[in-house]
């Protein structure tokens, strides 16, 4: 990654915008699964403005890579004031534009954000399908849910 991109990502995750659940959201979209470690969920609230129904606020939670956090932080700011149709027209590249061009290995992170947004704004829309991958390092951070523990005497 370029130094500029790395610096932009670090700056974004040091002060992420619009992080957290929104209790009164009008729409919610999710891509991935928290159980498998790579999930992004987005909440969207609309308002009426000049006769148009535009996005008033969007928030997110993610357990993905730092780049996904940075892109989601930027994207939730970018879509404010746009209609659902305008927001849906934005690609992952558009949503990550403020960070600078992403290298190929990081484009998936922007697509994660794009997928959550599309899931939230497309009526009846399904999350973007993800290909099954081998177990990842992140999976190793997630211990099995339930265990029976027996202390040794």
């Amino acid at each position: 990654m370029s130094n500029d991109l790395e610096a932009n990502i670090q700056a974004a995750i040091a002060n992420p915008q619009n992080l957290g659940e929104m209790a009164d959201a009008d729409a919610v979209g999710t891509v991935g699964s928290a159980d498998c470690g790579d999930m992004l969920r987005m909440w969207v609230k609309f308002k009426e403005e000049d006769g148009r129904r535009v996005i008033d606020k969007a928030t997110f939670q993610t357990f993905g890579c730092q780049t996904a956090i940075a892109v989601a932080s930027m994207a939730t700011d970018l879509i404010r004031g746009k209609t659902a149709e305008e927001a849906l027209a934005m690609s992952g590249q558009d949503l990550s534009a403020p960070l600078g061009p992403l290298p190929p290995m990081k484009i998936h992170c922007a697509q994660l954000v794009e997928g959550a947004l599309k899931d939230a704004l497309t009526p009846g829309g399904a999350p973007v399908a993800k290909e099954a991958t081998s177990p990842t390092l992140f999976d190793q951070l997630n211990a099995p849910k339930t265990v029976k523990i027996t202390l040794k005497s």
Binding site: C36, I69, M105, K106, L137
Partner: protein
């Protein structure tokens, strides 16, 4: 690069030949850390390299092989970790289940949660000593590699996990089994 490794081998074959390859791939190239940068077992090394900035597969395999040989450097001995913790020079991150953590824990250890992960990534100094603790050392190296791949320069895995801590540092800390 040894003769057993080749760009045409699948990722599954690579992981069988070099069990630490996934850790090395993430540390070196940010590949295989989470689902966003993961790979499919049937993909070849060449295919994964091609879609990751066109890495040279032969060079990548050589680098991975070298890095695997250095896995041991990511381990920290229980007594060394205990000394660093006593001196206030280490953060201990426990990646076991909440049930295990509640039953037995190293003093001052923090239990890993998804929420804490975001704090760690955003706020914890990247050069502080970060010690990852699991039960018996099986998952710690992978977890440490995840943080190393995110820029943590002094992350280590407790050799033998909390079980080794009970044996070598604090016998009062009960050992346990899980089912």
């Amino acid at each position: 690069m040894t003769a057993t490794l080749s760009p045409e081998m699948t990722m599954q074959e690579l992981l069988q030949a070099l069990p630490g390859a996934q850790r090395a791939l993430f540390r070196l190239y940010h590949i295989g850390g989470c689902a966003s940068c993961g790979f499919r077992p049937e993909e070849t090394v060449a295919e994964v390299c091609a879609r990751n900035e066109g890495l040279d597969p032969a060079e990548a395999l050589t680098a991975v092989e070298t890095a695997c040989a250095e896995d041991a450097k990511m381990l920290i001995e229980p007594k060394e970790a205990a000394a660093a913790l006593a001196d206030g020079e280490a953060r201990v991150l426990d990646i076991r289940t909440r049930e295990e953590f509640d039953a037995v824990r190293i003093p001052h250890a923090q239990h890993f949660t998804q929420e804490l992960l975001q704090t760690i990534m955003g706020e914890w100094p990247k050069d502080d000593l970060l010690v990852l603790v699991d039960h018996q050392g099986a998952r710690g190296l992978d977890a440490a590699a995840y943080f190393a791949g995110h820029g943590f320069t002094n992350v280590r895995s407790l050799r033998g996990g909390i079980d080794a801590w009970s044996l070598e540092v604090d016998p009062a800390l009960p050992r346990y089994t899980v089912e």
